[in-house]
Subunit: 102 residues, 2 copies
DNA sequence: ATCCTGTGTAAGATATTGCTTACATACTTC
DNA sequence: GAAGTATGTAAGCAATATCTTACACAGGAT
């Protein structure tokens, strides 16, 4: 989960995720969206995303198609949810303890 | 937002956030939860969290009390939400375009 | 005033990131 | 099989993170 959060903390990688959100894209097409950066740099970002489980790769002939993997962000989302819901539950419990006190 | 995501990518900092989730805690009490780490290290983590807007500090006499700042994670949560909801909307639009085609 | 307690900051060592350019590899096409 | 296209990997570099120990400083107590 650390990996996923760290991966997503980088704006370039978030942009890549948005690109591959609704379908497969070959590495070259992805790199073309970042003209200010070398192609290997984008390839390395793709590696980070892949290692973090945020994208899946599928070799097709010459190319390698990348696609978003929604499950990759589940733990991260769970953490955020926990931060709010657990807190509410705890505050509720505290309030009830308070009521029982004379 | 990068800052918040990066801050939350570290397990120690997530643990700190859970500690200060339901109330104020002085820096020393927080550091006491991490016996394997020096106190200054924890202090530096608190700095990162504070810079990222994830906690707020309140000096009280000798101490400095830390408390969770829920708004600090809003952009991060919005990004996760966007990843799913936007995708659904786009797939829906694509399906409708598909229907209109003979 | 002096001392203790709680806390942040400085300096420095080491590891990790995020890039670059140059190279290796694998399909595809002629 | 030779050349071209799409892509990953290696090496190296500058910047940044994350620790450590030593120090500074403010507030409360004596």
């Amino acid at each position: 989960m650390d990996q996923a959060l760290r991966a997503v903390a980088d704006p370039t990688r978030r942009a890549i995720l948005r690109l591959v959100r609704d379908g497969d894209l070959p590495a070259g097409a992805i790199a073309a969206h970042f003209p200010s950066m070398s192609r290997p740099a984008v390839s390395q970002h793709l590696r980070v995303l892949s290692d973090a489980g945020l994208v899946e790769v599928r070799p097709v002939g010459n190319r390698r198609l990348y696609r978003w993997r929604p499950e990759g962000l589940r733990d991260a989302a769970a953490f955020l949810e926990e931060m709010w819901s657990d807190r509410l539950a705890r505050l509720k419990a505290a309030a009830e303890r308070e009521e029982e006190r004379p």
